[in-house]
Structure formats: structure tokens, C-alpha cells
């Protein structure tokens, strides 16, 4: 075999051919012969390299890996002389990398391990061939040709994969439950109703790598014996819905979905069901009700969906991330997957970091990492040089954790033990200017709004929790309020029908536990230490700083500020509505906010 020191890969994508790729190849060979380099440099044809409409004809030179774009026949003599004779990269022909500012997902940061997110931003989600080129559907091929359904369940069991929707139920156990039920047909559902505020991991996977979810579902269908699957995707994610539909059509065309997959007698098809805006539909029984065209109201379990799910038939429901990771476990093996993580939580988990942190966006890290590493190393620390105060994990049904929890190794058990939960993976980081009572009020507004209203403890209980918080934030808290909150929380958690109600008081419970003194300051001292609750702060003009410019007095909407020109001004606290306009307009920072 001849040895070449360089290889030139010319894209022969249809668009590049139209733009003269074959002529470029001929010219390259001619020129290499002319310059006596033909035995050292090999010219090969390849498929699409870059965007052919912008860069074609384009080529890659190895081993350097240089990408040259918009090459014409006239450029060839110079290119060959410089690149192959003199060994210099020709900058003027190099492809201009389109700078994509991806605010969500940059290059992997230190400590990140990308399994679920590995293809995001790397492949074209509209092109199934891109996915196939990254080992896509090879796990499915392996499963169908070499493994019995029980072996698939065993392999997933050995990997230690647990449900990524938040509860962390062992995936293999769930599959087996569904498989063992003697009833047909069986269904699969994919919970893509990612409603937790601040959680957008699933959206990104659905938009950027939909085939990984599809492949995971087909494997799960093979293992459980399901014949039809529904992907329940929230309507707030229009691009995810669109990309899923494109992916499903392409997978059918390639024989990875539909009748007789890979030519075997195994058949499975998928449909996308779009939500219509209801947070509670992320609860599995509510999700199933919604698929069936009903109000998304949960029902008591048992019977569990594995026994009676969609249309009353056995149904296996998993989260987007759970399905997306399945093909990787099949290809790389259970041992590889279980080598990452902690004793009981294996593998990696995606998190969405939001709030007062420098790098917001998506990350994927192995279980066992600490919150400190996530916030200060991966997340780059707190914004604007402020102090860390709290982190809300597990979404609105989760809890907030403080400084003392930062060194916990992150896994399902550790978070639950600390009074929070894994949830779907939203992390909201709060700095020291956040009022925890206001945050608790805010979470209660959310749950109150999203409570489906079916059961009383949740419907009425969250309303009362919200009202008490509103009262405290408005400066009208009374002795006994905290005890009432404690009782209400206990009862709502004990008596509610589904996870929404059972989890709704969680933020309040954890904030009462870790920030009780802040509640007490609001109630007994009538002050908001973080200076957020309007009713509990005062604005005061600092005499030495005030120049008497009159700007504040002129902008005050209620004429609460008085003073002569060039004299120190005064705010009348009885008239002041604490709108804060004076502090914003003052050019000398003379107005202080007092708690």
C-alpha cells in the first residue's frame, strides 16, 4: 500500500458538484502530477464537510485538518504549491468558521462529561445521516440482531440507570414491570413535558439530537413489548415538536420505525402529542389523561401505568433523558456507564444552571460532583462579584440548599436527605440580594397557578400558603404565621393526590428551615434583610452626599420629596410608595435603601 503524507478530502455533496467539485478534483490531480507530488498526496472524495451553500466547493487537508472553502480551479496551482510543496497553510482560502454564539451550550467545561448532550450542536438534527455517522441506530441494530428483550433489560439494570424525570426509579425495573404484565397492546410514553421553571435540558436534546430519544424508545419498546409510543411534548417548545416530527419521518423512511424494523417481525411506531400548557401534565397519570384527550388531572396510583396506562393498557413512561442515554449504554456497555457516578446514582446527569451565576446554560456532569464545583467551577461563580446565598434544586417542588450543603456529593439520595430533591435538573442560583420569603411567595404563586384543582389539600392549601406569604411580604405578618405555615405544609404534603401537591410545600419547608430568621425579621421586626420586599424598606437621602439638585423631587410620582434647590432634600416616609425611582435617577448615589 502506498504511503501518502497528505490526504485531501473534497466534498462531493450535490451542491458542491454543481459548483464544480469534480473540476477541482481533476485540477488538483493535474497540478499534483505537474509538481511531482502525486505519490505523496492523495485526493479523495467525501460527503458534505461544511455548509455547501456557503462554503462549496470545499475540501479538508489532513493531517493538518485545515478546511479550505470556495475553492475554484484557478486557485489550485497556488494552493498545491503553498500547502504541499512549501507546507504552509493558505489563510486566504480557509473556511471562515461561522461564529455560532450558543448561550446554552458552549464547549464542555472542565469536569463535564457529555453523554446525553454529546451530539448537541455537533450534528444537524434535520439529517438522520448525521446521527448515523455518530454511531446512531447501531445500538438498535445490536439489540435487535443479538439480544433478547430480557438481555436488554438486564444490561440496563447492570448500568444502574435511574429515571431522569426526577424520582430516580430504576429504569430496568420499570421496563420489567411493564414487560411482565399479560395484556396487549402495550404503549410507551416519553415525558417531554419539561415544565419545571429553569429546566431546559430536555428541550435541547429534543431540538438538537431527537434521534437519540427515538432510538432509546425503539429499544425500550423491544424490551417491554410495546407496539406504539407517544412523545408528549409541551407546546411551549415549538422547535422540539418540529424536529421530532422530522426525525420520526426520517426514521420511518430508513426502516428504524414502523413495520418490520430492520426487516424483522418487530414493529413499533411513534407519534408526537403536543401539550396545551399545563404543568401538571408532567405527572405521569395526568400526562396519560392528556394523551387520551382529557383534562390533565392526575389519578391515584395504583394501578400504576405499567399495569393500566394509556387507553387502560400497560404503559412504560420515561423521561427524554432516560431514553436518550439508553443507546449509549447498549453500545458502550453497562460497565462503562456504571463506572461513573456514586454508589447508588450511576452515570451522568444534565443540569440547567440559571439565576445569578456567571455561566448560565446547560451542563452534563457525573453524579457525585458537588454543588460547589457546579456553581464555582462549571458555573464560573456568582455574577457581579456578589455572595452566594442559596440554590434551588429540583424545580418548584424541590427545596433550597445553602452554603452548608455545597460540599455534598450530588446524587438522588444525598439531595433527598438534605431536604431537597434531584428533580429534573433545574438549578436556580440565588445571590445575597435575594429575599427568601419573596422567593417562597414566588414558588407558591407558581404552584397555586398550576394546581389542577382536583384535590382539596393542593388546591386550597397552596392558596393559603400563598396568601400567608403575600401578607408577610406586605409587612402584615403576625405571630403564629410561621407555626401555621409549618402545619399547612405538613398536611398538604401528607394529603395531596399527586407529586405536585405532595411537593408543593417543599420550597417553603426548606426556606423555613434554613432561613427562618429572615421570616422572623419580616414578621416581628418589619424589615426585609435583603431589601426586596417593598413594604418593608425605606428610602433615605444621605445629607452629606445630596447636592440639592432637585432631580429626585421632580421625578417622585407622589411628591414625597421636599427641599430647596442646593439644600439637602428629605423623603416623607408616610407619602413614599417605595417605587425606587428617586434612587434610580439620583446622579450622586445619595439615596440609600434601608431594611
Amino acid at each position: 500500500m502506498p504511503f501518502y503524507r497528505s490526504h485531501v478530502l473534497v466534498s462531493v455533496d450535490p451542491e458542491c458538484l454543481k459548483r464544480g467539485a469534480h473540476e477541482v478534483i481533476d485540477a488538483l490531480n493535474d497540478e499534483l502530477i505537474a509538481q511531482d507530488l502525486i505519490h505523496e498526496v492523495q485526493v479523495l472524495e467525501t460527503s458534505r464537510i461544511g455548509d455547501p451553500y456557503r462554503l462549496g466547493p470545499d475540501l479538508l487537508v489532513y493531517p493538518e485538518g485545515v478546511h479550505y472553502a470556495n475553492i475554484s480551479v484557478d486557485d489550485i496551482p497556488y494552493l498545491v504549491e503553498e500547502q504541499f510543496l512549501k507546507g504552509r497553510v493558505v489563510e486566504k482560502f480557509r473556511a471562515q468558521e461561522k461564529v455560532v454564539s450558543d448561550e446554552e451550550l458552549g464547549a464542555p467545561k472542565a469536569k463535564e462529561v457529555r453523554v446525553v448532550l454529546r451530539n448537541c450542536g455537533k450534528i444537524d438534527p434535520h439529517n438522520i445521516e448525521d446521527y448515523i455517522a455518530e454511531d446512531g441506530y447501531s445500538a438498535l441494530a445490536k439489540v435487535i440482531s443479538e439480544m433478547a428483550p430480557e438481555q436488554v433489560i438486564d444490561e440496563i439494570g447492570k448500568s444502574g440507570l435511574r429515571g431522569r424525570g426526577g424520582a430516580g426509579f430504576p429504569t430496568a425495573k420499570k421496563w420489567k414491570l411493564c414487560r411482565d404484565v399479560q395484556d396487549s397492546p402495550k404503549y410507551l410514553t416519553c415525558n417531554a413535558d419539561e415544565g419545571d421553571p429553569g429546566a431546559f435540558m430536555n428541550r435541547r436534546v429534543l431540538e438538537s439530537d431527537p434521534h437519540s430519544v427515538l432510538e432509546g424508545m425503539v429499544i425500550a419498546a423491544y424490551a417491554t413489548g410495546a407496539s406504539l409510543g407517544y412523545i408528549y411534548c409541551r407546546a411551549e417548545y415549538p422547535i422540539a415538536v418540529q424536529n421530532l416530527n422530522i426525525a420520526i419521518a426520517q426514521a420511518r423512511e430508513f426502516g428504524f420505525l414502523g413495520k418490520n424494523i430492520f426487516g424483522t417481525d418487530f414493529s413499533f411506531d411513534l407519534e408526537v402529542r403536543k401539550g396545551a400548557g399545563a404543568f401538571v401534565c408532567g405527572e405521569e397519570t395526568a400526562l396519560i389523561a392528556s394523551i387520551e384527550g382529557k383534562r390533565g388531572e392526575p389519578r391515584p396510583r395504583p394501578p400504576f401505568p405499567a399495569v393500566k396506562g394509556v387507553w387502560g393498557k400497560p404503559t412504560n413512561n420515561n423521561n427524554v433523558e432516560t431514553y436518550a442515554v439508553v443507546p449509549q449504554i447498549i453500545i458502550k456497555g453497562a460497565d462503562w456507564y456504571s463506572s461513573m457516578g456514586t454508589a447508588k446514582s450511576k452515570g451522568t446527569k444534565t443540569f440547567a444552571i440559571a439565576g445569578d451565576v456567571v455561566n448560565t446554560g446547560l451542563i452534563e456532569v457525573p453524579f457525585g460532583i458537588t454543588l460547589r464545583e457546579i456553581i464555582f467551577e462549571v458555573g464560573g461563580g456568582i455574577k457581579d462579584g456578589k455572595q452566594f446565598k442559596a440554590i434551588q434544586t429540583g424545580g418548584p417542588m424541590g427545596g433550597c440548599l445553602t452554603e452548608q450543603h455545597l460540599d455534598l456529593p450530588l446524587d438522588y439520595e444525598a439531595l433527598t436527605a438534605a431536604g431537597s430533591m434531584m428533580g429534573s435538573g433545574g438549578l436556580i442560583i440565588m445571590d445575597n440580594e435575594t429575599c427568601m420569603v419573596d422567593m417562597a411567595r414566588f414558588f407558591m404563586e407558581f404552584t397555586q397557578d398550576e394546581s389542577c384543582g382536583k384535590c382539596t389539600p393542593c388546591r386550597v392549601g397552596t392558596k393559603r400558603l400563598l396568601e400567608i406569604h403575600q401578607k408577610i411580604c406586605a409587612g402584615q405578618g403576625e405571630p403564629g404565621d410561621l407555626e401555621l405555615l409549618d402545619t399547612l405544609c405538613t398536611e398538604i404534603m401528607r394529603d395531596s393526590l399527586c407529586g405536585l401537591g405532595q411537593g408543593a410545600p417543599n420550597p417553603v419547608v426548606s426556606m423555613l428551615k434554613h432561613f427562618r430568621s429572615e421570616y422572623e425579621a419580616h414578621i416581628f421586626e418589619k424589615r426585609c434583610p435583603a431589601k426586596v420586599c417593598r413594604a418593608l424598606i425605606r428610602f433615605k437621602i444621605q445629607p452629606p452626599v445630596c447636592t440639592g439638585c432637585t432631580v429626585c423631587a421632580r421625578n417622585c410620582p407622589v411628591e414625597a420629596i421636599s427641599g430647596e434647590r442646593r439644600q439637602v432634600h428629605k423623603i416623607d416616609p408616610d407619602k413614599c410608595i417605595r417605587c425606587g425611582i428617586c434612587a434610580q435617577v439620583c446622579n450622586f448615589n445619595a439615596i440609600d435603601v434601608l431594611s
Binding site: G195, G198, G293, A354, G361, T434
Partner: protein, 165 residues
């Protein structure tokens, strides 16, 4: 009472939606979404028309107007009330809230002179809150019809709304 021409139009939309999604129970929500997208809300008349088509006792497919109204009033994206020409939706989720959303929400209500759920007198804007849109990296976020705006500050609002007649 809806005018005759509009009623015809309504019937066409309802029939097209049913033709597209079918009459099975799992088509009810997609059908209502389709009607909502066409009119900005679900007129009571549309529910009556849809029910007449979907209720097929001979096929044991029983549906009441109440069932359809129950869906229309349950889901946030379905509205039983007439909305303005443009819907402004403010993301009320926690990440936006801690990133200046609180101030923006105040400014938004002031700028439009509307509270949540209200429509202005000339029917230009309806103001609503929406649950997390999942683009928390660029919060606070507002959605005008189908256009997303991220990193919005109170100062940006006037320019944004000027684009919508």
C-alpha cells in the same frame, strides 16, 4: 350573535381541524388548539359545532359540550375569552424572576396599562403570563405572538411593542 359569514368561516375551520386530526378522543386537544390558533381563542359557537361533529353515539364516541369546554378552560394555551390582535406573554418563572423579571413585569404592566389577562380597549394587546419557555439563559423573556425576546429590560419595551400594530 356571530355574523353569518363568520359562522361559515368558523364551520370551515372546525371541519378542517376535525378532518385533519380525526374524531377519536385523543384528537380533541389538537382540534381545540387548531381552532384557538385560528381565532386567538375558542368561541363558544366553535365548541357547539365541534361537539356536533365529534359526538357519534353509533360509534360509542360520546362527547358533551361540557367535556370540550372543560378542556378549553383547563389548558393555558386554550382561551375561552377573546384576545387582542397580539398576545404578550411574560415568562413568570423563577430564573427570569431573579434576573430582573420582577422589575420587568412591573414595567410591562405600566407600559401596556394592562394587568395579567386583560386586553386593551382597542384590542391591540392582551397581556398574559406564561410558564417557563425554557430559554432561561437569556432571561427575562417575553413572547409577543410567536416572537421571542430575551434579556429584556424595561427600556426595551417601547421599541418591541412599536413593531406590532
Amino acid at each position: 350573535m356571530i355574523e353569518v359569514t363568520q359562522e361559515k368561516h368558523l364551520a370551515t375551520i372546525v371541519e378542517a381541524a376535525i378532518a385533519k386530526h380525526g374524531t377519536h378522543a385523543d384528537a380533541y386537544i389538537p382540534i381545540l388548539l387548531e381552532i384557538n390558533n385560528n381565532f386567538g381563542y375558542i368561541p363558544a359557537e366553535a365548541i357547539r359545532l365541534a361537539r356536533a361533529k365529534l359526538h357519534q353515539p353509533e360509534d360509542h364516541s360520546l362527547v358533551s359540550e361540557g367535556r370540550l369546554y372543560g378542556l378549553a378552560s383547563f389548558y393555558h394555551m386554550l382561551s375561552t375569552q377573546k384576545n387582542g390582535r397580539h398576545t404578550v406573554q411574560f415568562c413568570e418563572s423563577a430564573p427570569c424572576h431573579v434576573q430582573g423579571g420582577r422589575e420587568l413585569w412591573k414595567a410591562l404592566q405600566q407600559e401596556l396599562q394592562l394587568k395579567s389577562g386583560e386586553t386593551d380597549p382597542d384590542g391591540r394587546f392582551t397581556l398574559k403570563t406564561v410558564s417557563c419557555l425554557g430559554i432561561c439563559g437569556v432571561g427575562p423573556v417575553i413572547l409577543v405572538d410567536n416572537d421571542f425576546y430575551g434579556n429584556v429590560t424595561p427600556e426595551d419595551l417601547a421599541d418591541i411593542f412599536a413593531k406590532y400594530e
